[in-house]
Point group: C2
Chain length 490, copies 2
């Protein structure tokens, strides 16, 4: 792609002037429509040093209402960012609906700035494609521009920057070293572009020799793409039937239907006390070792209402050093969260390496409550299973251990617990009208849970059904499961 | 305070058991009430190494609902945090109303971990007191515990930690070095405690030799303080008359009343074009120098509706490299922002050193729209002027240059612009019903602006009134002001 560019492309001043007179108000107008239609937009500029990424960013935003965009200048990751999955620092910057995020270098810099082992690069490229597809499926417009110049032009610019007192600091030794590897670097980027040039996030390579030409090419392309996105948005999404599609690369394990669980399993008080103490001590010691080995642990709790998630989490948390874990309760999304792709809030709640993140309800809300209550279109629910598998596979590749606990009780037991809550003053806050309404949809939820098992029971992040009619039994089972898996991992 | 502690304090097992049986459910109950009454709570633990800060945190949270608190383990600042005012990384972690933030070390660690020059320490202590008072005035309960042990006890604990394989990594050479300075360190902390022991955030020093005694002392104190805060909250706040109080340490400069401005000042198109280009080039070069010297610049825009803030900001932004500035538009607070002290969202939008932060409307909304529309109690508005001066003085001490521009137009000019907006299709989005309603309160706003000048026109962050009936004149004046001040600074 890069090597075929005609680097001699230039635009005469008059032609440029006339074009801009038309383009600038059009872009300003389009930005307002993007805001109104609530389309999130990512515009990213990659390119060789001195190719003009900063210049194009500056000239682009001049026409935009400052209330509608943010510019990000990507730098090497901070120490705390290095303790997260590599894409996390970009994922958290994704724009809310109607906003633009403009990146002077973005995730592609994390592929090219430091040399990566071949396999790591391959995995990251795959993760980029998945990440971009997920954003696009959520309605985000992704525009990627690569600014390219010849070796001669690059040398000329670097030398000019170096000569001027006010810009000399911008040029590094690295830049000149890379100049000598111009051909090799071109090959690298060509291959990167080819592997990430997808229908949902295609690349635009731009010959960046002439400033006017670059602006004309980039601005026109942005205007066209914004118009296309607006037209598509106004068309609306087609209705779909429930038909989840999971990438066949994920190996799905067989699972026990929740109807087949033996919910009678129980443990008596005395045995419980003894084993609880033993397990908590073990988990505490494991936490120490996990911390030293910098292994992150993610514990995801789902379950029927009143299945005992809170008490179960408490027994796990009690065992842990407070400085090494956080419990994230997942309630209805905030207005800000609703304006983002639904995994956004989970990207932001990931543990650092060596830490535990415990989720009291999780991203599976997408295929449970959001599906059953019709809060999300069936078309998007269909995509969610795969999106979740991709998200979890990314976490596992990063090094995380993931526990997914489904706390199961039967309908009678739930009724008993609801009534108990209703009748005990200090428990009344735990029971709401909504709980009773959900209970009426018991069968629809059961179906959703079975589908969730069917499509997300991957070999790298399998579900563990926890029989919870007896809370004591359930608590010991989650602790035991964690201890066993973590010991194997260490 | 520390030296007077009776380090022999212990609690027998039975007494402890009985106390806890009463305390634990009481604390759990109190947490629920704190959530319901929407009281933000900060609990911070400081103390010598191995004094048991982690242990007390762990045991405290076991009784709490995980959905209501966050534990923070304070570590040395990240590189990006070092490019912000020293308190910023704590300020952004302040709990929303109804939540608890539990700190294993907090801002006090930034006073003691690294040796500070005497004057810097003095200033930081003052900033701590102001910070805590501002939080308390906003309804936040701040509980500070210092855990203290003898040198002998500390040695015993450090040696035990070092012996055990799983905890040896926690003990550093620094810890043993500090052990030998036990007396000196005690003196330091005693002085720190004395200087930050305020009525709104008092210290509790706890003899931490005996685990049971520490828990009993800390838990009882927390329970009592939560009860007091609940009682106070239920009493409600008294009504107040408008009577701002500004700390006499702030030197307030005389100012021109907005009624006395000569709004007829103007510049013709030709002169404007010429000088605009010249000023923008100058500002661009200054940005480079400011970046190299790591000086942060804060540009605060306020003004009458339709005074031309957007266009003015645009002319400043056009001059700047996009990677070095951000424009933050300030609209009505989000639900999350409403749940915090009102300066919280500005703490989070500060520039890094060397960068520009441009605010399209600012923290002055507190004493303008919030005052005029009665969105904030008069008692809190009275405190706001001083709070703002303190906030800005902290920014200046950090090294920031602050510009505060008031863009002034007269009532006739505003009407012309409103009507123009109404009658021009592509400008209609800029005018709302609210603008017309605000216009009816022109005099009340004018009074609020004059009071704002009166109480916040400090010598370190003075207001600049910008006559804006002629937009061209206004744009040149802001640019010229910035250039002059920034040149003087460099």
């Amino acid at each position: 792609m890069l090597k075929e560019l005609d680097l001699g492309m230039r635009m005469p001043k008059e032609e440029y002037g006339a074009l801009m007179e038309e383009l600038k108000p059009r872009l300003a107008q389009l930005q307002q429509e993007i805001i109104r239609e609530k389309i999130p937009v990512v515009i990213l500029f990659e390119g060789l040093s001195a190719a003009g990424k900063g210049e194009i960013t500056n000239s682009l935003i001049v026409g935009f209402d400052a209330r509608g965009f943010t510019v990000y200048n990507t730098r090497p990751p901070e120490p705390s960012e290095r303790r997260l999955p590599w894409l996390a620092r970009f994922a958290e910057k994704m724009p809310s609906r109607g906003r633009m995020a403009i990146f002077d270098r973005a995730w592609y810099s994390a592929l090219s700035v430091e040399p990566l082992p071949k396999e790591e690069l391959k995995q990251r490229l795959r993760e980029v494609n998945r990440f971009e597809r997920q954003l696009a499926d959520d309605g985000c417009l992704i525009l990627k521009y690569f600014l390219y110049i010849s070796k001669k032009e690059q040398r000329k610019r670097l030398e000019a920057l170096e000569r001027a007192k006010s810009t000399a600091w911008r040029v590094t030794k690295e830049d000149f070293k890379n100049l000598n590897r111009h051909g090799e670097i071109t090959d690298f980027f060509d291959s990167m572009i080819e592997k990430t040039n997808s229908p949902y996030a295609s690349w635009n390579a731009v010959a960046a020799t002439d400033k006017r030409y670059v602006r004309a090419a980039v601005f026109s392309s942005i205007a066209e793409n914004l118009e296309k996105a607006l037209a598509k948005k106004r068309e609306g999404a087609p209705k779909a039937a429930f038909a989840p599609k999971v990438d066949p690369c994920f190996r799905l394990l067989p699972h026990t239907g929740i109807g087949e669980l033996d919910l009678k399993k129980s443990v008596d008080e005395e045995e419980y006390r003894e084993r609880l103490k033993e397990y908590q001590d073990k988990l505490f010691k494991l936490q120490n070792k996990l911390y030293l080995k910098k292994i992150p642990v993610i514990v995801a709790y789902e379950g029927n209402d009143a299945a005992g998630k809170g008490g179960n989490i408490k027994r796990v948390a009690e065992a842990l050093d407070a400085r090494g874990y956080a419990v994230t309760p997942i309630a209805a999304p905030t207005p800000d969260e609703l304006q983002h792709q639904y995994l956004w809030r989970f990207w932001r709640a990931l543990p650092r390496t060596g830490h535990f993140a415990i989720f009291d309800r999780t991203w599976y809300g997408r295929v449970l409550v959001e599906r059953v209550e019709g809060l999300t279109s069936t078309a998007r629910v269909n995509q969610a299973y795969n999106e979740i598998n991709e998200f979890e596979s990314m976490l596992v590749r990063w090094g995380a251990v993931i526990f997914k606990f489904w706390l199961a009780i039967d309908k009678d037991e739930q009724l008993r617990r609801f009534e108990d809550r209703q009748n005990t003053p200090e428990k009344q806050w735990k029971i709401t009208e909504e709980d009773w309404r959900n209970r009426e949809k018991w069968d629809a939820y059961a179906q959703a849970v079975d589908d969730m098992f069917r499509y997300t029971n991957t070999d790298f992040a399998p579900w563990v059904a926890v029989e919870s009619n007896c809370k004591r039994y359930a608590r010991l089972k989650t602790l035991e499961t964690m201890i066993e898996t973590l010991q194997n991992r260490l």
